[in-house]
């Protein structure tokens, strides 16, 4: 009885593939459009409104004043540039750290080593992000692990704690697993014969790397960079925990305005900077085929 009904439905769906597609697509599409995209749109409409700072009420008159305040102020420009620059620096660092690592996993590691390395890369994701960032403070502190080691080796101590250098290292650390995995996936898909063909045609290792391996692994690099770049771009906790003076990020300003000052319109206006940056980034990334290896 029931199976008969299932069968009839099956036949109807077979005859109308458009209906099946619609049924499959409706829930996720509905979810995104109704909950997420609509909310995003609403948020950025509010960027053109203002807030009464005392009562926190929103004044819905259209104005560009938020944007004027942002672009007119050197501080806000500086913070935006700092954030973007840091996101880029972190991304590049992670690529440099991750690439040889992933390469080793794909090419040199035995099957067992590969499982072990993969697990080791993933395990940090299961420990608390906050606790790990916090642990870095102990490493960078004036009387911390790093200086203790340096002293032990007879070096001068360095004052790296609560600086942008510290943030750079911590961010690179936090997002590294997100870079290793897609690069690994991309490298794994390169047929080994291409590598051999390059050597066969007289290219040495370096040339092979830059001319063949790197370009072909690029989608993986870009996929990884989506994570490292966007996650850095949107973070505000790491600057609070390990940053010093002059370490505020776009996220801190946004958070200060939305989470503290309750000035959502201003926060939305400022948040449109990372939104635009990421939008452009994603378009470029999609063209590179990065979405296929994420």
């Amino acid at each position: 009885m029931l199976s008969g009904a299932v069968r009839r439905v099956s036949v109807i769906l077979w005859r109308k593939p458009g209906l099946s597609a619609g049924l499959l697509l409706a829930p996720p599409l509905g979810w995104f459009l109704l909950i997420y995209i609509a909310a995003l749109a609403a948020l950025f409409i509010s960027a053109f409104w203002t807030t009464d700072s005392f009562t926190g009420e929103i004044d819905r008159t259209w104005t560009l004043s938020n944007f004027q305040a942002i672009f007119g102020s050197e501080t806000y420009r500086l913070i935006a540039l700092r954030t973007i620059f840091m996101a880029a620096a972190v991304t590049i660092t992670d690529v440099i750290l991750a690439f040889p690592f992933a390469y080793f996993m794909v090419r040199l590691a035995s099957q067992r080593q590969r499982v072990a390395l993969f697990t080791l890369v993933l395990v940090p994701l299961w420990s608390s992000y906050l606790a790990r960032v916090y642990a870095w403070r102990l490493i960078f502190a004036h009387e911390g692990v790093l200086n203790w080691v340096l002293h032990g080796l007879g070096f001068q101590s360095i004052e790296i704690g609560y600086t942008n250098w510290a943030m750079w290292i911590v961010f690179s650390y936090i997002w590294l697993p997100f870079m290793i995995m897609p690069i690994y996936a991309a490298l794994e898909r390169i047929p080994y014969s291409l590598f051999e063909a390059s050597l066969d045609l007289g290219a040495k290792a370096w040339r092979t790397f830059f001319k063949v391996i790197l370009p072909l692994a690029m989608p993986g690099v870009v996929a990884g960079s989506i994570f490292s770049f966007s996650l850095t771009l949107g973070d505000y906790i790491t600057p609070v925990l390990v940053g010093g003076p002059g370490s505020d990020f776009i996220g801190n300003v946004v958070y200060a305005n939305v989470g503290i000052a309750n000035n959502v319109p201003f926060a939305a206006a400022y948040a449109s900077i990372p939104l635009v940056v990421m939008g452009l980034y994603l378009m470029a990334a999609r063209r590179s085929g990065a979405f296929d290896v994420m």
Binding site: L194, D200, L201, K211, P215
Partner: protein, 351 residues
């Protein structure tokens, strides 16, 4: 091994005995963990030769090629190129190029860039490089495809880009690992003559791997037959087809009938058997004649294949060229009694 002796015979017969040896593999052995992929292989390829490695899957053909190219290092033995020991040189220092079975074209480069790659690594000046790339593309008839990406080409075209990419470097030896394996029948046949034409044009030594015996027979100057990591016979196409060293070769290279007579075993190729209706005489003298019964007649277009049961029960396959129009009635042959005959010297005794 009787390979060495036959090798001599082979080169003479192919008229290449005077050419210098360009690749010499001596006593090479290669193990992967517990699999011996290549076991004491010796071979000598002479300049300008079209030399084929033929053998069943897993017999060590690819491994031999990879050892020569330098992608693998032998556990034992020596590889010489043009008289110099290259056993320890990396691939990029050997004057050899490879055409890969999966083509191994760089997907992010255009056809012209692919072909230019080897020249660029050697620092050939831009102008010369450009010229040679055009020349190579012309040779494989792809002069108008330089701007395309490999993904925009058909299988046969990719194959030809792979070839152009190798020959543009004018290597001493070109290694080809089942270069036509992925192509369909018609295309494969076309590419076979294309390859021969190109070899005649560039006069490069070809070391060719295949498991298709017909391909090996039609294209090669000499064939080395592999089995279980060893070379079991080296010789010209006629050698290996008509004087197979053992039963394995006899059945691997073409269809063959094995006859047991007087306690000995003989190879008899299907095309060597004449068939005539009972009572009709053969117009040739000195034939060995037996009675038989046709079990099956299979039309193959160019010829018809007959399965015949001899008086002693042996089933043999015979073929007959279809000199004349056939109709579906040819099938009616099945069941009729016939005479089969062959010249005794067409029997080849197996050791």
């Amino acid at each position: 091994m009787n390979g060495i002796v036959q090798q001599q015979v082979g080169t003479e017969e192919a008229g290449l005995a005077e050419e210098p040896v360009i690749v010499r593999v001596s006593g090479v052995k290669k193990k992967y963990r517990d699999v011996t992929a290549v076991d004491h292989v010796d071979l000598e390829v002479r300049r300008g030769e079209f030399y084929t490695l033929l053998g069943p899957s897993g017999s060590g053909k690819t491994t031999t090629l990879r050892l020569i190219a330098g992608f693998e290092k032998p556990d034992q033995g020596l590889i010489e190129l043009n008289g110099a020991d290259v056993t320890k040189l990396p691939p990029y220092d050997r004057d050899i190029n490879t055409v890969f079975q999966d083509y191994a074209l760089f997907p992010h480069m255009s056809v012209a860039e692919n072909v230019a790659y080897g020249l660029q690594t050697k620092g050939v000046p831009k102008d010369e490089c450009k010229e040679r790339v055009i020349e190579a593309l012309r040779m494989v008839r792809l002069q108008n495809f330089g701007e395309r990406k490999p993904a925009e080409l058909s299988g046969g075209q990719r194959q030809r880009v792979g070839l152009a990419r190798a020959i543009v470097n004018r290597p001493k030896v070109l290694l080809l690992d089942e270069p036509l394996g992925a192509l369909d029948l018609k295309l494969r046949q076309e590419m076979q003559s294309e390859l021969k034409r190109i070899q005649a044009e560039v006069k490069i030594t070809f070391l060719y791997v295949t498991h298709d015996q017909e391909e090996a027979l039609t294209m090669s100057d000499r064939i080395a037959i592999f089995n279980h990591g060893r070379i079991v016979q080296i010789g010209t196409p006629t050698d290996v087809y008509e004087k197979p060293a053992d039963a394995f070769i006899a059945s691997f290279v073409g269809t063959s009938n094995i006859l047991h007579r007087h306690g000995k075993r003989f190879v008899l190729r299907p095309e060597k058997i004449r068939i005539a209706p009972l009572g009709q005489l053969f117009d040739e003298a000195g034939l060995h004649v037996e009675d038989g019964r046709i079990l099956e007649a299979i039309y193959v277009g160019m010829f018809t294949r007959y399965v015949v049961a001899l008086a002693d029960g042996t089933e043999v396959t015979a073929v007959r060229q279809n000199f004349d129009r056939t109709t579906a009635r040819f099938r009616d042959a099945a069941g009729t009694t016939v005479q089969v005959a062959w010249r005794p010297d067409n029997l080849f005794e197996l050791q």
